[in-house]
Subunit: 338 residues, 4 copies
Amino acid sequence: MLVVMRSHASPDQIDRVLAAIRDMGLTPHPMPGPTRTAIGITGNTGAIDANLLAVLPAVSELIRVTKPYKLASREMKGEDTLIQTPMAPIGPPNFTIIAGPCSVENEEMILRTAEHLASRGITLMRAGAFKPRSSPYSFQGMGLEGLAILAKARARTGVGIVTELMDTENADAVEEAADLIQIGTRNMQNFSLLKRAGKARKPVILKRGMSATLEEWLMAAEYILAGGNRDVVLCERGVRTFSDHSRNTLDLSVIPPVKALSHLPILVDPSHGTGKRAFVPPMALAALAAGADGLLIEIHPDPDHAMSDGAQSLDFAAFDRLLEDLRRLAEPLGRTIV
Amino acid sequence: MLVVMRSHASPDQIDRVLAAIRDMGLTPHPMPGPTRTAIGITGNTGAIDANLLAVLPAVSELIRVTKPYKLASREMKGEDTLIQTPMAPIGPPNFTIIAGPCSVENEEMILRTAEHLASRGITLMRAGAFKPRSSPYSFQGMGLEGLAILAKARARTGVGIVTELMDTENADAVEEAADLIQIGTRNMQNFSLLKRAGKARKPVILKRGMSATLEEWLMAAEYILAGGNRDVVLCERGVRTFSDHSRNTLDLSVIPPVKALSHLPILVDPSHGTGKRAFVPPMALAALAAGADGLLIEIHPDPDHAMSDGAQSLDFAAFDRLLEDLRRLAEPLGRTIV
Amino acid sequence: MLVVMRSHASPDQIDRVLAAIRDMGLTPHPMPGPTRTAIGITGNTGAIDANLLAVLPAVSELIRVTKPYKLASREMKGEDTLIQTPMAPIGPPNFTIIAGPCSVENEEMILRTAEHLASRGITLMRAGAFKPRSSPYSFQGMGLEGLAILAKARARTGVGIVTELMDTENADAVEEAADLIQIGTRNMQNFSLLKRAGKARKPVILKRGMSATLEEWLMAAEYILAGGNRDVVLCERGVRTFSDHSRNTLDLSVIPPVKALSHLPILVDPSHGTGKRAFVPPMALAALAAGADGLLIEIHPDPDHAMSDGAQSLDFAAFDRLLEDLRRLAEPLGRTIV
Amino acid sequence: MLVVMRSHASPDQIDRVLAAIRDMGLTPHPMPGPTRTAIGITGNTGAIDANLLAVLPAVSELIRVTKPYKLASREMKGEDTLIQTPMAPIGPPNFTIIAGPCSVENEEMILRTAEHLASRGITLMRAGAFKPRSSPYSFQGMGLEGLAILAKARARTGVGIVTELMDTENADAVEEAADLIQIGTRNMQNFSLLKRAGKARKPVILKRGMSATLEEWLMAAEYILAGGNRDVVLCERGVRTFSDHSRNTLDLSVIPPVKALSHLPILVDPSHGTGKRAFVPPMALAALAAGADGLLIEIHPDPDHAMSDGAQSLDFAAFDRLLEDLRRLAEPLGRTIV
């Protein structure tokens, strides 16, 4: 923490800040400059209550130096985290494909999708039984019945299940049914839900909030990690900007900083990121090239009649073509498609 | 809904779209132009499944005409909604002040605040017992104990209670303790929570999400209204932009459109909007002048030692000065401070 | 400047940074902490070449403490700047109204507008002879002929002229014709133009760039000030965000920080900020309440037939009503409408 | 164009809109719906003056259907544009590398860079003689002397020159010296400069403005095309968002829509996009995978002592490694590195 004084700060005002820092059991390091004094602080093991200093007279600004996340940080754990599932692992050097429909619509389409994935060597399927919809009048998902369909698909094909947890009421059921629990973008700072996810015995895919900074995202992961669940996978899915050429602005440039600051694996969801089927394959390839650890991608046996998000879903043929392209690109990048 | 065809669309492709529209039981209105054809659609009472049309060959774009919210819309209800509470009403021509600390820290500070408000003729106090904090290591609120303190303050001073509901587990307790239930910015699209709020017998203050469009915000209100609770108050508290001179960008310009599109009252929270105490009073006055129906504002008996958000809290003396300024400004604006 | 080392930095790496700082003629202040070392730097009178330090091994981050603007800063000049024009002054306690059409369309409409302003005691008129238009196929302004019309209106009514300078070619002509030169939002970082404005003998109104931070805006002002022209007026006109309920997001919350950091006066343009006539008056009143020093506002004798920006222009009757409302509000706020 | 009436619009109000449309020589297509009437318009060859309709009573909204750009559109020209230079062409299936320092600092470093590029088979070098700097106190470039150095490097190595045009004063000199003229992000809507570029006999690289929508960007290109210069190359270089993990948010997701809507080639500048050297290579690879037509990338013989932008510049060794990676990736993507 660095305290920057106003340029006209008096010696008394500076002394008062020094005293306040010492009162907190910390060590102040005054650095007088030609126009103003800055005061460094050392000795803190936890967070400093910045507020106590910010409000002192002639304090201009407080500059935080230490990152607030710990368990999620690369400094705490130098090597990449590899998430184990009964199916494909997630983390370098794997590039893990998780594909499936936006929502469970009926048994038949789920089985067809699971079988198609299995036939292509893909072992993780995504599909929502509980759906966050911006309109109360839209299809809200099949709920528990949807979970049962997913369990059936898993039993029949061996494909693992990734499905969204929307609230604590259904947490036990989702935890039971899922191989990986997904927390959606609108719930990234639903702290009650994050705490529940911290107690889950299944890995959690944490989507980035629509306007979350990298620090807020890692702090949300920290909630889950601090709760005892060390298996957290990040997922970039587009952020909210002024740009109107796509549904969201897929922020691939977050991947290198995530890798620098954290040991957690990161997936990319090019379907929600672009919102338009034709733009999904190029962004999926770009995610691989940028260093992501996998994809969360929407496919549907009949996208034109999907109950939700059809416009951004690939059909099986397009998915197969993408898979081939990914495999061709993975090799020179040192990645293995799983 | 308007379907815009690509400029090279063939008559067959256009016919296929016309047929698809008729298959949906709707009426297509083709409008051939020099470079391309557009097709208007009428006859829909609900939402059109745009997806079925978007994926047809040579369809370039779908343009939605009808707003998706109904109960929240000014078209459904022309006159302004006035929310009744046992204390001050919310809605024009009232300008309702809801003030108090960020969080319940202990009984003494809550009682002092409630007494100060009562002595100034302010009848609604805000204070969080459950606190959404971006760090799992920060103070998370006093919980049920905090609610008990708020009930005591209410009993002793007659001041009504506004407090945040973070999850469905604590919904009964919060609903019991609160005169108005607050839903925070991070939960604006926590649809499970919105559905629960729709069943509450207390009015709900719905804060705007950090990157919510006006339409998404009104759709979140629609969830509560559609659930049966017609007492929803909107609250603008700053949105997330590139601007770094304040904690958030307080979007006062949303007030006139809210008033044009909806009958619901709207408050402004200048404390979270600015994040800095010195900037709160001018933005509070600006909110009044822009047409807001009241303020949700942070005050604290001793902001320099607040457990959260002290830097943006006014002390009692600054709050008293602001109250005077607001009263002076309210008169020429035709508003009554309550 | 503060240098933050990585947590695993070796004593050698730290020594290398200390040496580099001393090589620059500055004084390093190492502050060892439990997890990492930070190094404060003092002794700099100008900017430090951060780059030389950022690239050293084990340097994690550089944190700048000093603001880069000088002449624009409140620290350099404590009292508010009052801009003198042959007509109304700009700066507290004045609230200066500058009104007029988007563009000069013909002599008649300019004369009518100037006469209307004069009859209402308003002494500054805005109107563009050179127009920045996003389409090359749109009306680009009357150019020099437009300037001549403005000069005629000035001669006949005594109303001062505010008009936009778009390029250096026309700088002499605009400087001659204008009482205040306007630099538009798209040119806020057209540095060649700013340098020319720094040599002008007329005050300059500098609109905020569409995505300019407060610091970038003040740095653009610094270009003009450093060029020798000390008469700079800032003008907030809305920034670019995800919000789609108005043409831009009018950032009134920038006003208090501008007043805290700079001595320059600040106007608000509620017409471009909202883009919609009906929303202009409430935002104009809010600007006054928030502490702005005046308005730049679009009015037109016949907005329905304006050649540009008609949808956001007030007609004379609506302008008169707004003027009355502003006068009523100015009094309790200690402002004088000029 | 589609006119949407308010839900309570009277037959008279609708008739007035129909008449206004006919007065404009166009054909109205009324589409009465259960809650409101929409009116399609056909017959327009140019832009409709929306303003004349927007201000009529009971008009709720105008929805534009036709794109405002013509020459830049894919509809006007179906095949990809291939820009010819005396050196490498730009456009599919080429992936064109343009590399070099931020600014011309002296003859020696320019010659070293040009020679390094030539030795690696790269034939286009970027370097700024005129530099847009946010501070008036920063190095502003070597100007004409810098252009002379670039000419010398070109003569000696055969490497073509890409350099920035900042104002019309220096347009002749820059046009003479450059093989491709660059227009920077801050000047994307400097329309006087765009008009001058439209008269240039050299291709123009048009960087995207910091908060430009895709439509605004293509309209800026349209200025140049409409002026007579058909050789325009787009360049994505990061946009301004709330995200703070990189200097800007590199919007790779704009590439597929650019390719769908326009025939112009598009480059990516990963140096300005990320602002941090270590993040440049992964984003460069991602740009290639996403479908870009090349890179504009900063390299420097000694980045640690660069006069500007050193922190985001690659040294020659890192550039060589990137070039190898690009070449390996280009093959499966069907691209040729030039």
